[in-house]
């Protein structure tokens, strides 16, 4: 396996907020095209780890490499980095679905209006919402909003996608649509790091499952290994509670 096959390499990552230690010596490699699902109770540090990958949080210690380039060095071009790392966040409430997807294409990638619009419509089509292009976020359901947010991230041609509990605030009947989009992305070969509580999705789509607690990786393995034969008591406990 060559160096370039590792998409994201997290090495000895640590993060503290003041005296509170959130991540301790976390190391993870995510291969190109791999789908890694991160599980764990709230406060386990999984969201913080995700945010360190695009430097929304600045690591306290350790190194992160994306496609072999260290992003934790002193002269990282943060904006350049973020173009390649897509993350799903809430929509801008004052812009229509299409304009949401166009904004960063225009301002950050400096695409022309026509090109940005064409790509926006393509990506909205991909998440099944082309006919909602001119709706405002308030006119969309929570699940549709998340799918537009995914389209917005995809329009930037990311090399890796980060999902931070993309379905956790949704009504159960809306979760499926979002997961379907994520599943089809995974099948299309997108490298993904997914923080979620959707065990069904993890079992079915993940190449690898990581269980975190108290800022450390307790256990990792294939879905079968982690779900059916967990080695650690804490993993068993957590999975027991979830079921």
């Amino acid at each position: 396996m060559g160096e370039t096959d590792v998409m994201v390499s997290i090495q000895h990552l640590s993060k503290s907020f003041g005296d509170t230690v959130v991540l301790r010596d976390v190391s993870v490699d995510v291969k190109r095209g791999e789908v890694v699902v991160v599980l764990g109770p709230s406060g386990s540090g999984k969201s913080t780890m995700l945010r360190c990958i695009n430097l929304l949080e600045k690591p306290t210690g350790g190194h992160i490499f994306i496609e072999g380039v260290e992003i934790t060095g002193p002269d990282t071009n943060v904006d350049k980095l973020r173009e390649h790392v897509g993350m799903v966040f809430h929509l801008f409430p004052h812009l229509t679905a299409k304009k949401n997807v166009m904004l960063a294409q225009r301002k950050v990638l400096k695409r022309s209006n026509e090109e940005a619009e064409r790509i926006a419509l393509e990506q909205l089509e991909r998440v099944g919402l082309a006919e909602r292009a001119d709706y405002l976020p308030a006119q969309l359901s929570g699940g549709q909003q998340q799918r537009v947010a995914i389209a917005r991230a995809l329009a930037m041609d990311p090399h890796v996608m980060l999902f931070d509990e993309a379905t956790s605030a949704l009504d159960p009947e809306l979760v499926r649509g979002v997961l379907d989009v994520m599943r089809s992305l995974a099948e299309g070969g997108m490298t993904m790091v997914v923080v979620t509580h959707e065990m069904g999705f993890a079992r079915e789509v993940a190449d690898r499952v990581i269980f975190m607690e108290d800022g450390v990786i307790v256990e990792e393995g294939t879905p079968t290994e982690v779900f059916d034969h967990p080695k650690h008591e804490r993993t068993k406990d957590f999975l027991g509670h979830i079921k």
């Binding site: 929304l56 790392v85 993350m87 966040f89 409430p93 004052h94 405002l136 308030a138 917005r152 991230a153």
Partner: protein, 253 residues
Amino acid sequence: MRRRTPAWLRVVGYVFAVVFIIAGWWITAELLITFAHTNVLPTPLETFNVLFEYSSALVPYFWTSAYRVVVSLLIGTVLAVPVAHLCARSRTLDALFAPVLYLLYPIPKVVLLPILLVLLGLADAPKIVLISLTVFFQVLVAVRDAVKAVPESSVLAIRSLGGSRFDEYRHVVVPATMPAVFTSLRIGIGTAIAVLFIAEAMAGSTGLGYFIMQSWSMVNYPRMFAGIIAMALMGVALYAIFDVVERLLTRWR
């Protein structure tokens, strides 16, 4: 999605409001004439004639007052918005200014009028400064709180897309705080016109405030009332203009 009141119902509402106000006014005027034997409050019918009669005399006073209010609203807002953003974004600045704001905000700025008259004379300057001050604090407090209320997820969203600090303001923070600017302005119009009236009534010989009080001292109540109506119309017109502009600029709501 917010449910909108149907257009016909809104029209009915406005018609009802106008009828209600005119009826109340008419009844009050007739009661005063019958029991207090005074024509200090003209009936709506008389008022229409009076307004017509004094309209040419009123016009210059009206524009003087309108100019003062509009300029003051602009100055107050233009100064308040950047300060509000700075206060909301910098913990140090906020820590320094919050107590100052807390102490100054409740002071009725109109009590500073005598000082301003001494310093700035009797013309436009003291009135504009006074109203600007009033507006400044109202907009500052509203916008500062609105900036603080911008959801972190919106800011992170633009950052995660590679947006610059400028994009963050231009495309997230400013749109999110626009409604607060207009709400505080619409509320501020009432205060601004009240302060204008006091300032014009107390000093100088221009503006509707002066027109009203001069008519009062001449015991010319119809003329006085024409001035009052003109001032009220100015308030309504400004309110309506801001309402329309707000709707245009914040269509997503």
